[in-house]
Subunit: 241 residues, 2 copies
């Protein structure tokens, strides 16, 4: 071992440091977390959100786009940016999940608490559902034998049939995994992500099972949604509040 100490450095090292460096700034980290809602933000929105000058935000966005974490779309005088893909979203989630523990409790204002409780009830997490709503769906799928969590995280054959009979199409052609466990920030437990999670979220919004609250990430279940979730997954409406 001592003789081979001068071995060539792992070429991944610099790349890893560069990738981490993109997220190692508080402002850029704030951008990425904001963009976790899966939607496109303009440069100005992000600048105001993070409390920095537009010129500063512009420089940060340039780095994030060049680094492949964001994609941009120019429309007239606006520059819309969004997370490059689901893999980037997952990466940010994974990092963020690692952060939570030390955060612990902290003083909350009333406004924060109420906004927080709406978020805690139900929200989108990139392209799937999270919060108590996401957990309730994941638990129901598991309890009905449609999703297996005890030996990993995968849909069962019955689960495949359920999606089919519910009219929720699953695109299994891409390289993205069908299911994936995403650690829920508020519930501290995994909820359904991946292609299946995205399809379920998309269908729930399309079918008005839940609707976005304002233009925020938070969503709330409609009465129609309560009926659908009860009928299809045996979820009691009280579990959604």
């Amino acid at each position: 071992m001592l003789g081979s100490m001068t071995r060539p450095k792992d070429p991944v090292g610099p790349g890893l440091a560069a990738l981490a460096g993109l997220m190692a700034d508080e402002t850029r980290a704030g951008f990425l977390l904001a963009l976790l809602d899966g939607r496109a933000w303009t440069a100005g929105e992000l600048a105001r959100y993070a409390g920095v000058a537009p010129s500063t935000a512009s420089e940060h966005l340039g780095k994030l786009v060049t680094g492949g974490l964001l994609t941009e779309e120019r429309q007239g005088r606006h520059r819309y940016v969004r997370l490059a893909d689901a893999r980037v979203a997952q990466l940010v989630e994974d990092l963020a999940a690692h952060v939570r523990p030390p955060a612990a409790e902290r003083p909350r204002t009333l406004r924060e608490s109420s906004a927080g409780s709406a978020m805690a009830r139900g929200r989108t997490c990139y392209d799937h559902l999270a919060g108590r709503l996401g957990i309730a769906l994941t638990d129901a799928l598991t309890g009905q034998g449609l999703l297996r969590q005890d030996t990993g995280f995968a849909l069962t054959d019955a689960g495949l049939r359920w999606f089919d009979s519910a009219g929720i199409g699953l695109d299994r052609t891409g390289r993205r995994p069908l299911t994936r466990a995403c650690l829920d920030w508020t519930e501290r437990r995994p909820h359904l992500a991946g292609t299946a999670g995205a399809a379920l979220c998309r269908h729930a919004l399309d079918a008005q099972w839940c609707v976005r609250i304002g233009s925020e990430r938070a969503v709330k279940v409609t009465s129609e949604g309560e009926r659908a979730f009860a009928e299809l997954l045996g979820i009691e409406p009280t579990a959604l509040h």
Copy 2:
């Protein structure tokens, strides 16, 4: 949206930036990648490995330990450090997996190639098996209906029985998932990680199905291992070279 622009910043932002900052230095990134072999290194070994002064390495290790990514163990005049746990290993792997694509090809010396091919054949990845060996095992488990990859990543009931009958105990009490997909650097495909992957690796080393080459991460399959893998999983010996 415009009115709520002054919303309180996500408290995760600073934490995320700090965590990423720990990996955003080339030297520290090199440390973490080296430590991905799952073993304990001394401060001096890491310093020589990365090509920095001992004092510099000491400062880096202090940050990594304080940040919770490493744990240390003092023995006499030595300071041994290792990755704090499997979650940290996973985090580093995930980041590194995101880096590979842009790396592309580059000139290789003969020494690198031969060392590389031994690593490519089989190696440990923190506490489980990777390289062609890891892929062969994962594929065989999948082909035999013991591991399900098409709808996620989970052991089947038959898979649970296989581990039991092979005498490989699975500790299912911890919070660590039983199975997890870990993207293989050289094969670009997922191999088995998690509690089951660690148990399989541990058993393979204990039973001398494979042995470490020198004190490196690379491992090679023994003739006894070839027999065991053929009998238990139907793997042809040629798939292991």
